[in-house]
């Protein structure tokens, strides 16, 4: 019993190796493939990975046996002089029953861990999980922390080791929420509220992106997961909860605030205490973000200026229109927004 268990484990590692070999030979690391689904960084992703290894084991075994049999049949019985005239066999009941039962048995070996993993990964989140409400928009992600009263975009901050309970909604069409390092994807669907949870296990920044085709800029609907130490996360929360910075009215940023208030930005963007718009990302602390416009560009003053100057050029189909601001207005509003730390 123990020997056979060791035997399967040995076979399993061989097969895992066979499959991962091409990847390993590429020097496959998360550094090189940051969006990889094969480098789990959370309990949910690890459970999937373990199941995948089980699957791979059987898939490799079947592949080798069946393709092998095919090749042997072709090579061994290829037409050549001296080969006897084939016997007109029509079938063999025993054989056929055998190769109906064999795959059924193998599939049972796959089905059992599959069902177990389904129920495990779709269970209720544990108590004390950090609640996050994710809202998909054409073509950016909004993150709300109902318990903390924080709303932000494109960058999801979570502390290491605490389960994150995510509820998923959409503002327009179907999207799919996917951080491969954390686990499987889950669609966000109008009239539905979907849910998933995972516990991040490593500190770091992990890319993700929308996985359901959602229109012209589907490819540009990206996001980042920032798994932080408890202290860093709490510092971030404290910063997000502060009211927005109030610029000196004579400074460039102060002029920028005037531009923001008068150029129509308020219709779509919230800055706490200043404007109520909800069509675009909440900008209350936009200066603390590292990226812009669905994690498409780094959040530098230059990139932000280019964005405000002509959004549809920077992101095809963008819901934020070109507002036709003059260069000095843009410089001012960028100074203002960048000051919102």
């Amino acid at each position: 019993m123990a020997a056979s268990a060791r035997g399967t484990r040995f076979l399993r590692s061989i097969s895992a190796l066979l499959v991962l070999l091409p990847l390993l030979s590429l020097g496959c690391t998360l550094r090189q493939f940051p969006q990889s689904s094969l480098h789990p960084q959370a309990d949910y992703a690890s459970q999937i990975q373990r199941l995948l290894e089980d699957l791979m084991f059987w898939v490799v075994v079947i592949f080798v046996l069946v393709e092998g049999a095919l090749v042997v049949a072709v090579v061994r019985f290829r037409n050549r002089p001296g080969l006897p005239e084939p016997k007109m066999t029509h079938g063999h009941t025993g054989l056929e029953i055998g190769w109906t039962i064999a795959p059924a048995v193998i599939l049972a070996f796959i089905a059992v861990p599959t069902v177990v993993t389904i129920f495990k990964t779709q269970s209720k989140p544990p108590a004390g999980a950090l609640e996050v409400k994710v809202v998909g928009h054409q073509w950016w992600w909004e993150f709300q922390y109902p318990g903390l009263d924080i709303t932000t975009a494109s960058e999801l901050h979570v502390p290491i080791g605490q389960p994150v309970a995510i509820s998923l909604q959409t503002a327009d069409v179907i999207h799919s929420f996917w951080f491969p390092a954390m686990g499987g994807k889950r669609d966000v669907i109008p009239t539905h509220t979907n849910a998933m949870w995972f516990t991040p296990e490593k500190i770091g920044t992990f890319p993700g992106q929308c996985a359901e085709f959602c229109g012209v800029s589907h490819a540009n609907m990206r996001m980042k997961l920032m798994v932080q130490s408890r202290e860093d996360f709490e510092a971030w929360v404290a910063a997000q909860k502060r009211p927005p910075v109030e610029p000196d009215s004579t400074s460039l940023a102060g002029k920028g605030k005037q531009v923001f208030l008068t150029a129509g930005c308020v219709a779509c963007h919230t800055i706490a205490g200043i404007s109520p718009g909800t069509i675009g990302p909440n900008l209350t602390h936009v200066g603390t973000r590292t990226s812009l416009a669905g994690a498409l560009y780094p959040n530098t003053p230059e990139e932000m200026a280019k964005w405000i100057q002509d959004p549809p050029v920077r992101k095809p189909g963008s819901i934020m229109p070109k507002l036709g601001l003059a260069p000095d207005q843009i410089a001012a509003v960028v100074a203002y927004l960048q000051s919102l730390k």
Binding site: L23, F33, P34, Q35, S36, S37, L38, Q47, I48, L52, L55, M56, V59, I62, V66, E67, A69, L70, A73, V74, F77, R78, P86, T89, H90, G91, H92, E96, W99, P103, A104, L107, I110, T114, V115, T117, I118, F119, Q122, Q138, V173, I174, P180, G184, K185, R186, D187, P190, T191, H192, P207, A211, E212, F213, G215, V216, A219, R222, P316, G317
Partner: protein, 605 residues
């Protein structure tokens, strides 16, 4: 062709005879000519779909490439999928149904020859209509699966989605008409003695496919009617703002879509089941089991649709149920593969090009089947769905599978259709180039998908590690192009000057090899009586051959008719009127009515 009723032009000279030639094709009701029309048209659409794929791959060769615009890219992948499924693989299969089925079952034509012509003309016009959208404001751009509510007027205000929905409806008419025709043909027109369990496996798979079509297409038809009503009349079948659940579309679409997968693959399985025995000089191993497996797959195909929807969040019970049914369907599929291998085992395997493609089909289909088993498991699928892993899977199944199977059929039956052989040397080059190129193209997609690249993206960021593998896939596609060009050269040369051949170049076992190549208009001078699954491998085969080719008196063949083409034109105009307006719709309606009534009252003697 020996049809006697084509009106012959009065004037002499090449131009008139050319016109008469064209006219004879437009009015033909001969299943063989219709088969050729289907084949050539579908192959041209296959080239268009291939060109779209080529543009897609050039765009993805490098990260942040700007070869095509995002919007055009979305049109390209939508039309690539739609074209390959509805305008290439299905009608290529239909081409074989048309040419081969009556020959295999010992019939003189299909049950409804004019309905058959009608199917073809509707297919042709539907395909043209769909592709016209490129020039009339933009092709459909919401994916071949057209998920609601992205297809709603609010999120897709242009006409692209209308072209798509109406085009698919038109094509559905064609598929339904053809499917009814083949069901009646196979059930009623078999030669005496050909019991169901003596039918060639290809005829069996055609029958199962036809049943799947008549059951699956009504589902997509209803789904599309809802969509068209939403878009044209302002109903709310899929409009969430009015309380509709857009997942309804997904259920309807995949309830059609999964059987559709078998509509695409079963005919290729049938072809391979004909080619393997012929070139192994041995009957198909376990004929009844292969047939029952095909039927079982056809039934089970209705119980697995939600495996396309594991990420929707249907809950653990639904996920488990659909995972188990999907795994179950792998069993009959596996059984078929084992039986094919056992057919070769102990035989004398002659690796002619047709056989190479059949063996290649099995090898590639195993790959696609195994990746399919991987995403039959929902947790694993949640990492794989909507990534390039699934793109790899479908292309192993549909390009490595269906298309390779179809090529096996082309090399196998070309001599029957034309009386000439395709060049064997070019054929071998075509096969090897094709199978290597397809693996270069699609194998890396497994990895790039698992490493996190979603599908249907017009671009990807550098630094995610996707660059090299995408470049390899793009190089592979160029190799596929070269392989396809080799085939085209071979085809064009062989049609004109290929080595001529007798009635039975391969030593086939089924009835089509008993009659001359190309067959006379009436196929069988006398209808044979069949006593076996492989009548031409029986001891009395030479008697049977002599018998079926002996003319015993006048043979009545249906006269040609242009009314099916007229009715098809009317339907196409009528449906396109939904976009182009009354000026198309009303004449279309009138033409359709004239066509249908004249057809109904046309004397067929």
């Amino acid at each position: 062709m020996a049809t006697t009723t084509a009106p012959v032009g009065v004037a002499t000279g090449t131009r008139t005879s050319f016109a008469a030639g064209v006219w004879s094709w437009i009015t033909t009701v001969d299943h063989k000519r219709i088969g050729v029309l289907y084949g050539v048209t579908a192959f041209l659409f296959f080239l268009i779909g291939g060109l779209e794929a080529l543009l897609i791959r050039i765009q993805l060769a490098r990260p942040e490439n700007t070869f095509v615009s995002p919007d055009f890219y979305n049109q390209l992948f939508t039309m690539h999928g739609t074209t390959m499924i509805f305008l290439a693989v299905m009608p290529l299969s239909a081409s074989f149904f048309n040419f081969i089925i009556p020959l295999q079952i010992g019939a003189r034509d299909v049950a409804f020859p004019r309905l058959n012509a009608f199917s073809y003309w509707v297919f042709l016009l539907g395909g043209i209509f769909l592709n016209l959208s490129f020039f009339l404001g933009g092709a459909p751009d919401t994916g071949w699966f057209g998920y609601s509510n992205l297809t709603s007027k609010q999120f897709s205000p242009g006409h692209g989605v209308d072209f798509w929905a109406i085009g698919l409806q038109v094509l559905g008419i064609s598929s339904l008409a053809a499917a009814f025709n083949f069901i009646v043909t196979i059930i009623n027109l078999r030669a005496p003695g050909m019991k169901l369990m003596r039918m060639p496996v290809f005829a069996w798979m055609t029958l199962v496919t036809a049943f799947l079509i008549i059951l699956a297409f009504p589902v997509i038809t209803v789904a599309l009617v809802f969509l068209l009503f939403d878009r044209f009349v302002g109903t709310n079948f899929y409009v969430p703002a009015s309380g509709a659940d857009p997942v309804l579309w997904q259920h309807l679409f995949w309830l059609f879509g999964h059987p559709e997968v078998y509509i695409l693959i079963l005919p290729a399985m049938g072809i391979v089941s004909e080619v393997l025995p012929t070139f192994s000089r041995k009957p198909l191993f376990g004929y009844p089991v292969v047939v029952y497996s095909g039927i079982f797959i056809g039934f089970m195909g209705w119980g697995v649709w939600s495996h396309h929807m594991f990420s929707v969040g249907l809950g653990p019970i639904a996920d488990s149920f659909f995972a188990l049914t999907t795994m179950l369907i792998a069993i009959p599929t596996g059984v078929k593969i084992f039986n094919w291998i056992a057919t070769m085992w102990g035989g004398r395997v002659e690796l002619k090009t047709a056989m190479l493609f059949a063996v290649g089909f099995i090898a590639m289909f195993i790959m696609g089947g195994l990746s399919g088993v991987m995403h039959a498991s929902p947790p694993a699928d949640l990492q794989q769905t909507d990534t390039y892993f699934v793109v790899a899977h479908i292309h192993y199944v549909l390009f490595g599978g269906a298309i390779m199977g179809i090529f096996a059929g082309i090399y196998y039956w070309f001599p029957k259709i034309t009386g000439r052989l395709l060049d064997e040397r070019l054929g071998q080059i075509h096969f090897w180039l094709n199978i290597i190129a397809l693996n270069v193209t699609f194998f890396p997609m497994h990895f790039v998908g698992l490493l996190g690249m979603p599908r249907r993206v017009y671009t990807y960021a550098p630094g995610l590690g996707f660059d090299t593998m995408n470049m390899i896939s793009t190089v592979g596609v160029f190799a596929i192009v070269i392989a396809t060009l080799v085939f085209i050269v071979n085809f064009l040369r062989s049609v004109r000057s290929g080595e001529t051949t007798g009635s039975d170049p391969w030593g086939g076992a089924t009835l089509e090899w008993a009659i001359p190549s190309p067959p006379p208009a009436y196929n069988f001078a006398s209808i044979p009586t069949v006593h076996s699954v492989h009548p031409l491998w029986e001891a009395d085969a030479s008697d049977l051959i002599k018998d079926v080719n002996r003319v015993r008196g006048p043979i009545h063949m249906p006269p040609s008719s242009y009314w099916p083409a007229v009715a098809a034109l009317g339907i196409a105009l009528l449906m396109s009127g939904m976009i182009f307006g009354w000026w198309f719709g009303i004449p279309g309606l009138l033409i359709m009515l004239v066509g249908l009534y004249s057809w109904a009252f046309e004397p067929c003697h």
